[in-house]
């Protein structure tokens, strides 16, 4: 992250407070807890790699520290495999704090490419990105990189790429990201990558139809995935039979989102969309 240009100001590992860690080009202090780290470094963002069984507690600790000391902060949780009830508690806790935003868990993080490097909070390969005008939102990790590569293949860079993670319970969702991209003057179009399961894509499409003014290109992974082996019927009821790739693609189309059924055509579709919107010369 430091190599990419991210301003890493310190680390937190219980029991290792007072140590110093050498990063490329700088040395940063380690703290025993988030409260101390935030008050001494004035950090804006916390990125969490803590093992799954302790990750929810780490998210809550970071949220409390940011909330008490600064009233705001961004938490990015990379960890995969956090118990679902831990996440329900965590998301409930953070929902009481209007200044705190959680991205993830189970995600590659968030990156804003600059002219030379940029700001990367996560595990994505920084060099595949370039500064540009496309916003990317994705439930998946490596498929996000694929979407980035697709924009690059047609000469388009990115404003910000956000991996929101594929867990059933998570922080920032598609709609939160779309709302942020709507506000961002540098973002001129968005690529949105969904996955089968749940109804987040359908909800985002419905929201975008009424609230989003910029063009969106959408892809949903899992069209060929077999229906899950499920133990009962209850899980299907809640989504009212939704959740398949086909249903998500049709929800996208209905909302005016331009779909790419082939992820290797996302770039092509993006170009035609930009031309249609008068944002790129034919």
């Amino acid at each position: 992250m430091t190599e990419y240009g991210t301003d890493v100001v310190g680390g937190v590992t219980p029991g290792k407070g007072g140590q110093v860690v050498d990063l490329p080009g700088r040395s940063v202090p380690v703290y025993d807890n988030m409260g101390k780290a935030v008050s001494e470094t004035d950090a804006d963002v916390s990125v969490i790699y803590v093992p799954a069984r302790f990750a929810a507690a780490a998210i809550v600790e970071a949220a409390d520290a940011f909330n008490e000391i600064k009233g705001e902060g961004l938490i990015v949780c990379i960890t995969e495999g956090i118990p679902i009830l831990d996440m329900i508690r965590c998301v409930g806790h953070i929902s009481e704090m209007p200044g705190i935003r959680l991205i993830g868990p189970n995600c590659p993080g968030i990156i804003t490419p600059g002219e030379n490097g940029g700001c990367k909070v996560g595990i994505m390969p920084g060099y595949i990105h370039a500064k540009g005008r496309i916003g990317i939102i994705s439930k998946s990790g490596t498929l996000t990189y694929e979407a980035v590569a697709q924009t690059m293949s047609v000469g388009e860079g990115q404003t910000t790429c956000i991996g929101i993670g594929g867990d059933p319970i998570s922080g920032t969702g598609f709609i939160d990201c779309l709302a942020a991209f709507e506000e961002d003057p540098e973002t001129e179009a968005v690529v949105m990558i969904g996955e089968i399961g749940g109804t987040a894509e359908e909800d985002a499409a419905a929201w975008a139809a009424d609230n989003f003014s910029k063009p969106i290109v959408g892809f949903v992974a899992g069209a060929t995935a077999p229906p899950g082996k499920r133990m009962g019927h209850a899980g299907a009821i809640i989504s009212g039979g939704k959740g398949t790739a086909d249903e998500k693609f049709s929800a996208f189309e209905k909302a005016g989102i331009h779909i790419a059924r082939d992820p290797s055509k996302i770039g092509e579709v993006l170009v035609s969309v930009l031309i249609e919107a008068g944002l790129r010369d034919p």
Binding site: R53, P125, E146, A149, T224, G228, R230
Partner: protein, 408 residues
């Protein structure tokens, strides 16, 4: 395509219910016909239910087949017996045979476990379920007066018959939610109190045991007004298994796909499909997208396989082995977009793995991301017969072209 929850049998679920104070009938778990007869004698009831134990719903309406001849043995995997002789007949027809239900898949499941349960006088059948609501970030309680039937049908035809309530983020129902639900189910007096008590126990059990679903269908109002869980379908959140060591004893390995368990032990996520093109990919989303693209270019994926972020030479060798165990596989597409995974590490692992498992089918490798040039170089310098490509579309085209001749 995340891993399914950990499922347990009805008899195990009912043992948990007893511990948690959720009312159930007396019952005995058996694995032989003799045990079933002993159970009948020990229960001392005239009427008992003889219930097949498999990890799939729709048992009552399922059919039992002989595994050797494929002949139909009996209709219905759950039977009411009113004599010792009937217990014997039903048990013989169930144990060791294959039960096919709406949810078991056409191949069905071998029944090795039986549950003999005391009969119950039923005034009415209800439906009750607790599960995680991913849109509301809470636990959802669903109940219906239409129990004992296919709940999906109820949801479609009479959605107003399904009543819902949500917990807060700590897993507590709002005050009065249980009573309100009892009212909407038309429960009064003893039944209302009994329902409320059961719901409280179920919600606290859902939280303390990290469940992902509890389904009771049917939940019954007995002749005396008390509410009894006549069935139990429980699955647990596997991510929380580390804090529930007792779960290990409840796992029935015969209910799980052996190859999927093996894959999981190596940090791989594998699901077998019916096609002929094996896939080895990093990341679940990219793995699904790779399958989608293979299909779009006229091929048919043989599997879903995500090698995960912690992949190494050993796990990649295991992955190749698992893919090649499937006799349908006629070619393999490797699709790696390196992030934390380095393409050169994957390249070296592929070379070692192909030697170890004796790779004999066409191999197409697409590398992108971290160290992709080095990875490609390593493969091209090796003696391995491999086609390297730079994009997913080229990879799919190449592997489809390489396997189409074999297929025809």
């Amino acid at each position: 395509m995340s891993r399914e929850g950990v499922n347990i049998h009805e008899y195990q679920g009912k043992a948990l219910f007893r511990e948690e104070g959720v009312a159930v009938q007396e019952g005995v778990h058996c694995t032989t016909v003799d045990q079933a007869l002993e159970a009948y004698d020990s229960l001392g009831r005239n009427v008992v239910a003889v219930k097949s134990q498999i990890h799939a719903g729709g048992r009552g309406k399922g059919s039992l087949y002989c595994p050797d001849t494929g002949d139909l043995q009996m209709e219905g995997g759950v039977k009411i017996a009113i004599s010792r002789e009937e217990v014997e007949t039903y048990s013989k027809n169930i144990l060791g045979n294959i039960l096919v239900t709406k949810q078991s898949g056409p191949e069905g499941k071998m029944v090795n476990n039986l549950y003999i349960e005391a009969g119950c006088e039923i005034a009415h059948e209800y439906y009750l379920a607790l599960l995680v609501d991913r849109e509301k970030d809470a636990i959802l309680v669903m109940a219906s007066t239409e129990g004992g039937v296919d709940i999906e049908e109820v949801a479609e035809t009479t959605p107003q018959a399904i009543h819902k309530a949500w917990t807060d983020s700590s897993g507590n129902l709002p005050a009065g939610a249980g009573s309100a639900m009892a009212d909407s189910l038309g429960l009064t007096g003893v039944s209302k109190g009994s329902f409320n008590e059961m719901l409280g126990s179920l919600v606290s059990m859902f939280v303390s045991r990290d469940c992902s679903m509890i389904e009771i269908n049917p939940l019954v109002r007995a002749g005396d007004g008390s509410m009894i869980a006549l069935d139990s379908k429980i699955s647990f959140d596997d991510n929380a298994s580390f804090r529930h060591p007792w779960r290990a004893d409840m796992r029935d390995m015969s209910e799980e796909e052996e190859v999927e368990i093996r894959a999981n032990k190596s940090g791989l996520s594998y699901v077998k499909l019916d096609g002929n093109i094996g896939c080895l990919v990093n990341g679940a989303g990219l793995a699904m997208a790779s399958m989608d693209v293979i299909k779009l270019y006229g091929g048919d994926p043989a599997n879903f396989l995500d090698i995960g972020g912690g992949a190494n030479k050993e796990s990649i060798t295991t992955a190749f082995g698992i893919i090649l165990e499937d006799p349908n596989v006629e070619g393999i597409l490797v699709n790696i977009f390196g992030g934390i995974i380095r393409c050169d590490m994957v390249a070296r692992s592929i070379i070692d793995a192909s030697r170890e498992v004796g790779l004999s089918v066409p191999l197409v490798v697409r590398f992108s991301g971290t160290n992709h040039e080095e990875g490609r170089h390593v493969l091209e310098e090796s003696s391995l017969e491999v086609t390297t490509v730079g994009t997913l579309a080229d990879g799919a085209k190449a592997i489809v072209a390489a396997t189409v001749g074999v297929d025809a």
